[in-house]
């Protein structure tokens, strides 16, 4: 039991003590603790499974697909801080992927700086870019905000495609940059096997999920949610809505940018069309909408569901019906929006909650007997 868990469980205890009248309506305390334990065990099992997966899955193709799945889950979770909690729909997050990828690649190709350092620098540049985009656009609502972010992303892509040299920095326009796989190893963020990439993106995903979890329970999370739903009411309750959105944007841009470096080192070739394209921005939004915006599990579930669809349809129909995965995305999105407007996480959450209750009851009975 970590310190935080202890504080939380003791906190629920004090609350229950202070409010005896809620005992009738609320869940009995004992069961709640039991459920928490089952929850934690389940999460730990999931983590163990994720870490052990490369021992079972040996095929590089499958591993590649799973890595991309985690990559998108990571991207969408980072996006979710703004797109989910703050209640706006940014559609230009590929800008930050581009900044991350180009910063680390240029620094490592031209100056021999490790991509790990470039990754952080790219993240910091992305924070500035994110705040710069957010300052004028957060005042807009709904579709106008989405369109403004698209405009920024497209502008950035066109610039990257048309600039060969930015001062001493070689951007190489539409031809992109190739990273020669010479010095492999952890220090250079370059490996001949897929497994190291798998573990790196898995750890990144876990960290970003942890950050999201902490934010959703913090003042910032409450402020973002409130400001996203009813900005006027939120302001009257002491929340500086624009500032909350900007801090979320800064964090989201930083984290998204890290994924850009990862992608560059993973594919060893970047060009504007592949990493600053609207396709990626839209795919992130699709995954979030289908999985469930503003929830923690939503982006991961969305990526788990949609990435295989995309990859498999590309493998099997890539020659005959290119772009089929986008049509499937569209159909799935329409169906989800009609039947599950809050994303598939809601119904899955209910199912999980039910199973958890039954399991807790059974454990309790066993304990009593």
């Amino acid at each position: 039991m970590t310190g935080k868990d202890y504080i939380e469980s003791s906190n629920t205890m004090t609350l229950a003590k202070k409010s005896p009248s809620c005992a009738g309506t609320g869940i009995p305390l004992e069961k709640k603790i039991l459920k928490d334990t089952i929850n934690k065990t389940f999460l730990i099992l999931l983590a163990v499974l994720a870490f052990g997966l490369p021992l079972i899955v040996k095929s590089p193709t499958w591993l590649h697909m799973i890595i991309l799945m985690y990559f998108y889950a990571y991207l969408t979770t980072s996006w979710n801080m703004v797109g989910g909690f703050a209640g706006v729909l940014p559609l230009g997050h590929s800008v930050f992927i581009g900044i991350g990828a180009y910063t680390s690649t240029i620094l490592s190709l031209q100056y021999g700086i490790s991509p790990w350092i470039g990754m952080i620098l790219g993240g910091i540049i992305s924070i500035f870019a994110g705040v710069l985009i957010g300052l004028p656009t957060f005042k807009m609502r709904g579709a106008y905000f989405a369109l403004a972010t698209i405009a920024f992303a497209e502008g950035f892509r066109v610039m990257a495609e048309n600039i060969d040299y930015l001062g001493p920095l070689k951007i190489n326009g539409p031809r992109g940059l190739q990273i020669p796989p010479l010095n492999t190893g952890l220090a250079n963020f370059m490996f001949t096997q897929k497994e190291p990439y798998y573990y790196i993106i898995l750890i990144m995903l876990m960290v970003v999920l942890g950050i999201t979890w902490v934010i959703s329970r913090s003042k910032l999370g409450y402020s973002l949610n409130a400001g996203g739903e009813e900005p006027e009411a939120a302001m009257a309750l002491g929340i500086n809505v624009s500032r909350a959105k900007l801090s979320a944007m800064a964090m989201s841009s930083f984290l998204t940018s890290l994924a850009g470096t990862f992608y560059a080192q993973f594919s060893l070739f970047i060009h504007p069309k592949s990493i600053i394209s609207l396709d990626i921005s839209f795919e992130i939004a699709f995954i979030a909408l289908i999985g469930g915006r503003g929830s923690i599990a939503g982006p991961v579930l969305g990526a788990l569901l949609l990435r295989p669809v995309s990859d498999l349809s590309r493998i099997y129909f890539g020659d005959t019906l290119p772009g089929l995965h986008l049509i499937i995305y569209g159909v799935v999105l329409i169906l989800v929006m009609i039947y599950q407007p809050r994303g598939i996480q809601e119904s899955l959450n209910k199912i999980y909650e039910n199973a958890l209750n039954k399991l807790a009851d059974r454990f309790k009975k066993d304990g009593a007997v």
């Binding site: 504080i7 009248s21 809620c22 309506t25 409450y222 402020s223 309750l237 002491g238």
Partner: protein, 241 residues
């Protein structure tokens, strides 16, 4: 001591003067009622005081400090809270979540905010609905949620904008009781209301405005028998004969 002093407040929207040279002040611990026919400028005056609109002219002092161009969130931190005439709950969230958002105005600690929110729900007899999603509340409960959220910010002055509109008589009585209880905790209350029975029972003093101008003020009894007020509400042909 005056907690709020409004002097010569003017609010213009283009060519329309919604509030015209309004003067009023509230003593610490008082309940002041603001009434007037529809479109008289009551809510606009409220919005100016709460920082939503910067007033075109005039001065608003809260605790002696001029607050004309302060932002709503800063005013809230200084101890000025408000409710909305058209309720604005965070609809997808639970009642507890809604109140916790207010409680975060004075703390950054989540469990502290939760404890505070639960205490407020308890004093408002609202605890049994703490896990209800606020979109499924009745209108009476939504109004109550507005108040719960506002007092969670620990205000010194609370602006209530028609918290009784649309309620049944029994619910109105309950709301009057809640507001009287709030006053006992030391909160000064400035209330807009259309339900005469309630505002007569609640207010220490009443200010009446019509077309943005103050036409009467005084105790509920004085105001109710004031000729200007009756004319404003019923038209010029009706006078006290």
């Amino acid at each position: 001591m005056k907690i709020l002093e409004v002097s010569d407040l003017v609010m213009k929207f283009g060519g329309l003067t919604a509030v015209d040279k309004l003067n009023l002040s509230i003593d610490q611990g008082e309940i002041l009622g603001l009434i007037g026919p529809n479109g008289a400028g009551k809510s606009t005056a409220f919005n100016c005081i709460a920082g939503v609109y910067p007033p075109s002219e005039g001065q608003i002092r809260f605790n002696g400090e001029i607050i004309n161009h302060q932002k709503p969130w800063n005013l809230c931190k200084k101890g000025l809270a408000r409710t909305f005439q058209i309720v604005k709950p965070f609809a997808t969230k639970t009642v507890l979540y809604n109140v916790m958002v207010g409680a975060f105005a004075t703390t950054s600690n989540t469990s502290e905010a939760e404890e505070k929110a639960l205490n407020i729900l308890k004093t408002l007899h609202f605890e049994n609905k703490k896990d209800t999603r606020s979109s499924s509340l009745t209108i009476a409960d939504r109004k109550r949620l507005e108040i719960a959220r506002a007092i969670a910010t620990e205000p010194r002055l609370l602006l209530l904008d028609e918290v009784m509109a649309g309620l049944r008589p029994a619910e109105v009585d309950e709301m009057v009781e809640i507001i009287q209880q709030l006053r006992l905790t030391g909160i000064t209350i400035f209330v807009i209301e259309h339900i005469m029975r309630a505002i007569m029972a609640l207010s220490d003093r009443i200010v009446v405005i019509h077309f943005g101008k103050k036409i009467a003020q005084g105790t509920p009894r004085d105001v109710a028998s004031n000729e200007n007020v009756i004319k404003a509400y019923l038209g010029d042909e009706y006078g006290i004969s």
